[in-house]
Subunit: 221 residues, 2 copies
């Protein structure tokens, strides 16, 4: 038999992992495009180039598949965002320009991983029908993990004397960074439902970084 959850204990034959990942990839695309309810198992199987029966053998049922896809996608995006943070804070010298560059990529994550955020919009819409532990798990390995990494980097920059951030205000600074940059864009574009002109995007991000520096720059009050 096959496990229903997503993590497998011992055996793991060669081709299975490829099939499994093909299914996850295809399902991510179809779920993101069509939503949980509209996405049909057959469509997912076709997108993954796999028999629909194989899909059931791997993930038990539609809900199990959705959970696996959500977690898989969340881990991938979190990893990418953390790598992005590493890359930018590694060469962190001038707050004004470096934070702006970071912000552009940070906020651009919604466009770099469109399928994932389409997925997130789905679960937000279906939150009432989803088990709370699924939502919490998603938060844990997704947004919260990303925030934790950001918090560490901000603290590091604070210790280096580049930002006015310490243990005292690190939580708020982390929250504010997310709010001023990604949050601002999110609200203005209705969570990405409406197109946002590049100029508006640029202006929002720039304003957000300026405000952040006004609060947490070294010359700040």
């Amino acid at each position: 038999m096959v496990n229903q959850g997503g993590t497998r204990q011992k055996p793991l034959r060669k081709g299975m992992l490829e099939k499994r990942q093909a299914i996850l990839k295809g399902a991510r695309a179809v779920f993101g495009r069509d939503g949980y309810t509209r996405a049909s198992i057959d469509a997912i199987a076709a997108e993954a180039g796999v028999s629909s029966r194989t899909l059931y053998n791997h993930f038990g049922d539609k809900e199990g598949l959705f959970r696996a896809v959500l977690m898989d996608s969340s881990v991938a995006v979190t990893t990418a965002q953390q790598a992005l943070l590493e890359r930018h804070f590694h060469k962190f010298r001038d707050p004004a320009t470096d934070l702006y560059d970071l912000a552009v990529e940070w906020v651009g994550g919604t466009e770099t991983h469109p399928e994932h955020f389409a997925l997130v919009r789905q679960i937000v819409a279906e939150a009432n029908r989803l088990p709370l532990d699924v939502l919490r798990e998603w938060q844990r390995i997704g947004p919260k993990a990303t925030r934790a990494a950001l918090r560490e980097h901000l603290l590091e920059a604070g210790r280096a004397g580049l930002l006015a951030i310490d243990e005292e205000n690190a939580d708020r600074a982390t929250r504010h960074w997310a709010l001023f940059t990604a949050g601002a864009v999110q609200i203005e574009s209705a969570q990405g439902a409406l197109p946002l002109e590049p100029e508006a995007f640029e202006r929002l991000v720039r304003e957000g970084v300026e405000l952040f520096l006004q609060l947490y720059g070294k010359q700040a009050a």
Copy 2:
């Protein structure tokens, strides 16, 4: 015959308007609860206490009904939020306390009109499948109208010397108000998908208002 859109030209018999509004009310509840796809016409008709055939006679098809519901609900919420602004700015004397009171009710709107915001979460999730003009129309009679009203009140307070707001920075102040209060709560609760403890809610709103006053209070730089 009957019109498919939602606005009717000339005739309008007595009972029709009641039926129509009963359908809109029922559909708002069911669409919000179950989502566009899962919400069945029969369930909506039952909720409204109306034959499903009548529903088709009024709104043509499911999508037409959804549009009508969205617009109807948006107008209602916008009206309520505008009334809320009127009420609070009418007795606007002390920025610190008055803005806090306003913010609590302003942000609480998501809980005062849960069905509407469930609806909004649906259209955000289904944005790819919705005509762009529907989305724009929603923005126009919904969020944008509310923002416009807020902007006027902020300007008024600026003219009265209670806030450091003028024509120059009114747009940004309006955006910041929404971002610092509702936006902060929205992000933290994943658009209302996850429950937020009252203390966290209270803290976010308080922080938001403080930040707003730091930027636009009279003693601000």
